[in-house]
């Protein structure tokens, strides 16, 4: 069962504030979703199955390129010294 304490923990690790309404509604809805995916337990835990069955090989990386970014949001948040400003840690 997903309790309100569990929900608060999940919200904290997901970095999301929940509204009063969501705190009431979500435990039951999440519980039902988890019950639904619980059927996966029936599957074997056979470690011999290759988890990456894509046929595409991802080994041809392009070279890094240095380009000027024109993202306004980033530049707007830069300090005069060129640092990105964030909230206080403590």
């Amino acid at each position: 069962m997903i309790s309100k304490v569990d929900l608060a923990h999940l919200a904290q690790i997901s970095k999301i504030d929940l509204s009063e309404e969501e705190i009431e509604k979500f435990p039951m809805q999440l519980e039902r979703t988890i019950e639904y995916i619980d059927v996966l337990e029936e599957l074997s835990s056979d470690d011999s199955i290759d988890l990456d069955l894509q046929e595409i090989k991802f080994d041809q990386l392009r070279d890094d390129l240095i380009k000027n970014a024109d993202g306004e949001r980033i530049s707007k948040n830069l300090t005069e010294d060129g640092y990105l400003k964030g909230p206080k840690m403590k």
Binding site: L7, L10, A11, Q12, I13, S14, K15, I16, D17, L18, S19, E22, F26, Q29, L30, R32, T33, I34, Y36, I37, D38, V39, L40, E41, E42, L43, S44, S45, D46, I49, D50, L51, D52, L53, Q54, E55, I56, F58, Q60, L61, R62, A69, D70, G71, E72, R73, I74, N77, L84, K85, G86, P87, K88, M89, K90
Partner: protein, 481 residues
Amino acid sequence: MSNLYDLLASEVVDGIKEGLFTTEEYVCSVIKRIEDVESKLHSFISLDSEGAVSSAKLIDRKLREKEKIGPLCGIIVGIKDNISTKNIKTTCASKMLEDYIPPYDATVVRHMKENGAIIMGKLNLDEFGMGSTTEYSRYGPTHNPWNLDYVPGGSSGGCGAAVASGECTVSLGSDTGGSIRCPASFCSVVGLKPTYGKVSRYGLISYANSLEQIGPICRSVKDIVMIMNVISGKDMNDNTTIPSSSITINGKTKKLNVAILKELIDSCDGSVKKTIYSTAEKFKEIGCEYSEISIKNLNYALPSYYTLASAEASSNLSRYDNIRYGFDLPIDDYKWEQYFSTVRKNFGEEVKRRILIGSYVLSSGYYSKYYLKARRLRSLLRLELLTLFKQYDLFIGPTMPILPFKFGEKIDDPIKMYLVDINTVIANLASIPAVSLPVGFSNGLPIGLQMMAAPFEEQKLIDASYALENTINIRRRPNLT
């Protein structure tokens, strides 16, 4: 001549090149159409009519000066609002990105423009592509053009409704678990989810990046081919793409071995089942054999899909921290953790639910119970399907297990909503191509046939779709007056 907004992409290109009408005349006809029906449908999040008219004038001038224009000469395209468009707002139908203007074009958008297409605007979706009705859009839902009281499907619901109603000639959507095929089915248009790796995802705002692909939604199979040949191929900005051969309309279907998936047909509504069986009979008319087969791992597909998609969503959406993207909140007076969680409460309910589930299945203790099991199932399913593709060319079944439904019917019950994706998630899990083709109506509501093929066998899907389209010949335009 019929209304210009009614024409298929191939007819628009021919008409402009033969001088039957100008690009500007065609664009103005589509704009007039949007003015007439948009208040009923709400397909668009943002419109760029002025930009479309200037692009049209430019194309007309180039044509007069005998300059070369690409194969999509003048065609109006609508872009799902989770695909980046330079200088046009791209919101993902989320409050978190309500003011986000991308500084670059997605690769698919660049290809469309370079080949002569005109961007008309950005189309509505469920927030970040999470949903099957557009009811989770923060800008309000899109309505189904065949019956305004019904959902258009999702998440690319704006694409389905706009193309079906003539608000644009073609559109680009994205498909993570059925988001192209579901609205294609509910709005009676053609939608193709390509093989994973065929079309670049560069500029597609990620939700579950191991599952999603960009693809076309159009009114004819021929138009799908035109768009696919422009957007497919290797892209250095998306390392999962590979070079691919072009697709053609050849009119002759080789004899294909077609299998109806028993699990999909057994669980669908009566009226849908009836239409799918009568379409299966049409395969005989086009010279194909069909039989019915069962797939062992299908029962686990949807739970695996929601486990993987939520896990990837919780990771992908962690970037919305208000420093690089997000809601505009000054940082002063806030502590580190509190700042991010305050900003991120602006996600909609469904997005929050999926992030929370994603965090849950990735937590220690649950990771091997859910996430790893889902990954294993994904591999088993793909292996099973690839083995069967040695014997069969196509798997067919209903795209959606039910007819389009009314607004509000499933919105309060996430599991009920998830269950409508049960037939479509298979292709995303197995990374194979799948198409939804309109094949009939029941009580005035559209029914789509889904066909799936082996990886990179889009040509087989197109051959069968084109032959069936010519055999079935269904009504194409909803009555919106």
